[in-house]
Symmetry: none
Subunit: 416 residues, 2 copies
């Protein structure tokens, strides 16, 4: 491994769980792109001795350390003190920095509170990073083998300071790796089944590093390639992407920020076709997913949420006799919902979902997790019976049902 980075976030609001730290993930993504992978993130409460210990630990093992937070004017802002202690230096007052803070206040037409003098202190050997986007100046200091950059915790200021100071400094460092990161999105199988098909690519220590993660039924395959040049890294990543695509075939629905709904929408737009929805147990979630995509009015005409028996009968025209004979959660009912929805809306495709999301309402015959999903098109209706585990909760059963419906349409559109 070449250069590595550590990221240290300061703040009791983080360690008490009142706020989620999103800065560290953002910084990691930028550093990976610069060829400096992150070894660890550490989040620490406003506690001086713990901060000093973690700074020293990072100074020993990382080449780049980015710290966020703890630069404010109050007593619980301890980053400056901690850096001075970790470097065995005293804090000095920086006249230039003080003038810059005063000027920032003046530009807002506000009086600078006296407490802000604290913010003009820096460890003796440190360089001040002027903050043009807020009041808290940053600090750059060398401790051990590490270049340490201390930035404000406010995301907007942090990002601007990273771009102004950290990015250029890191780009000038020797020994950075050249890295290419690619992500494939898949739907339709479990993580371990998928991993078995690419287990040789996932071996530890291999370059590119290939890994899988699961989130909301979507299994993502991440390829991180390193090389002597950007070109080499890019080519290595592309090779693996091609290989994974070949092995997983139609399971792969897209890359990076693609969602099932955005991919379906793109294909419907290409074909100039439309879709509608009829949802019982998902209560509008499928419509929500389809319309999450900007411009979806080009292909989504709308739909129905016939939650009660009466609404299935009255708004969609499902015969009460059918519901009484087979139940609302049945293959014939799903089929009729999709067909009627397609006929009423005159859309090319109609998706229908009816099932038991729980936690109540299950029977021995029709347990919680039983969901029927139907897709009507000019070729007729296909129905999929899903039996989601009862141990999935209501939210997950509904989410998977809606995504499974989108995936049925996606697969259908692949053939079109």
């Amino acid at each position: 491994m070449g250069l590595t980075a550590d990221i240290i976030a300061m703040g009791t609001e983080l360690t008490t769980g009142a706020s989620v730290d999103t800065n560290s993930a953002w910084l990691s993504a930028r550093l990976v792109e610069l060829g400096v992978p992150t070894r660890r993130h550490v989040t620490i409460a406003d506690d001086l001795s713990t901060i000093v210990r973690e700074v020293r630990e990072s100074a020993q093992s990382a080449r780049v350390v980015v710290m966020t937070g703890g630069l404010g004017p109050t007593a619980d802002d301890m980053t400056r003190e901690a850096l001075a202690m970790a470097a065995d230096e005293s804090l000095v007052f920086d006249e230039e920095s003080f003038k810059a803070i005063a000027a920032f206040y003046a530009s807002l037409g506000r009086q600078m509170p006296e407490t802000n003098r604290r913010q003009a202190m820096r460890p003796a050997s440190a360089e001040v990073l002027v903050n043009e986007w807020g009041t808290a100046p940053g600090v750059r200091i060398r401790i051990g083998g590490a270049d340490m950059f201390s930035l404000p915790g406010v995301p907007r200021e942090m990002k601007a300071m990273f771009a102004a100071y950290v990015g250029p400094a890191v780009e000038a460092m020797d020994g950075r790796g050249h890295v290419s990161v690619r992500v494939l999105r898949t739907f339709g199988t479990g993580e371990s089944n998928l991993a078995e098909q690419i287990s040789d690519l996932m071996e530890v220590g291999r370059n590119p590093a290939v890994g899988t993660t699961a989130s909301e039924g979507v299994i993502s395959v991440r390829v991180v390639a390193s090389g002597d040049s950007e070109d080499v890294a890019r080519r290595l990543a592309q090779n693996d992407i091609d290989e994974v695509r070949k092995r997983l075939g139609v399971l792969v629905y897209g890359e990076d920020d693609d969602s099932l709904a955005s991919v379906v929408g793109k294909r419907l737009t290409e074909l100039g076709r439309t879709v509608s929805t009829a949802e019982s147990c998902t209560g509008g979630l499928l419509g929500t997913m389809l319309t999450d995509v900007p411009g979806s009015s080009a292909y989504y005409v709308g739909g129905f949420i016939p939650y009660s028996y009466e609404q299935k009968n009255e708004s969609l025209g499902i015969p009460m006799a059918l519901i009484k004979e087979h139940g609302a959660v049945s293959e014939p009912c799903a089929e009729a919902m999709a067909e009627r929805c397609r006929a009423l809306t005159k859309s090319d495709y109609a998706l229908a979902i009816t099932g038991i999301a729980g936690p109540g309402g299950g029977t021995e015959d029709k347990p919680v997790g039983l969901v029927y999903i139907a897709l009507a098109s000019r070729d007729g209706v296909q129905v999929k019976e899903c039996r989601f585990s009862e141990r999935m909760n209501r939210e997950v059963i509904r989410d998977r049902s809606a995504r499974t419906a989108l995936n049925m349409l996606r697969r259908k559109l692949c053939e079109a």
Copy 2:
């Protein structure tokens, strides 16, 4: 300081910035409630030696260590190995655990892949934490002075495992602080406006500590009281809760896990009344929120997603002339949607939403963020015009629209 906790999250998807770690904040909030403040969160890539070093560091300084992730079946899942190395123990195969994993697969009607054998390994002195919510069993082990709990990284499974194993174990520990945490949920005003009304309670250093956080339009007021006994802490917190409720009045809709939809559902159930929905720009999100609540079929009869002009006309019977004269995003159209929806479904209340969620589709007259929300009842129809900031994105505009609709119904039901 009494007992403290460390939280360690594993996963290259976290240290590369592909995913944001939300588990650690959730765990910290739960541990604070149990009187065990968190000293630090550490997030580590799938790198064995780094994991071992951090586990050893935490074993020396924390009483409780919760680890998340790295328990999957693949080679980059290294938590089991790391715990064994940190404890200087070998990994052993746990027959019982293996049977439980196999049973989970069987319950899904799926074949267990051979790689899942890895998941039945545990450090020799460790106890297996059976995972009834997924395939990855957890591990509990004592290293140094710390009780270490290793949980899956999937949030749903992690939370269930915390409740089943970690919470009860921590509750049984001596030396915890006595803390009472209460959270009020409010909707209908901004965070700084709300904070101004309770600024004296929010002073730094005060006990209870009172703070606000904003998430999806919901402003939460968090009260954390410490005392010499649970009783004292509870009473202190209750005093502040009463005071905050008095000052904020009808802005407060509930506590803890209450959602606008669950509160509305409870009140509708009490009154024996029903509701239906007609959604254009939210595309089913309001229906989704209403039906997120188990048992919502008792009061939610269903609804319509008339996304296109034709569907507004055909499924709801909105006259084309009205749409042509006023536009689909207009007060008369919202009013007609709610009235027609109530009439068609014979529900007591009907909510309708029509607006421009963007990013496209805005005009000077009708900019992105303009949304009309209507509530029909036997008293007639009320319409609210919302002008959400263009700087909100599509997702946020849709979310706030649906919540504002629920809040209108909540306020209406307060009078009923």
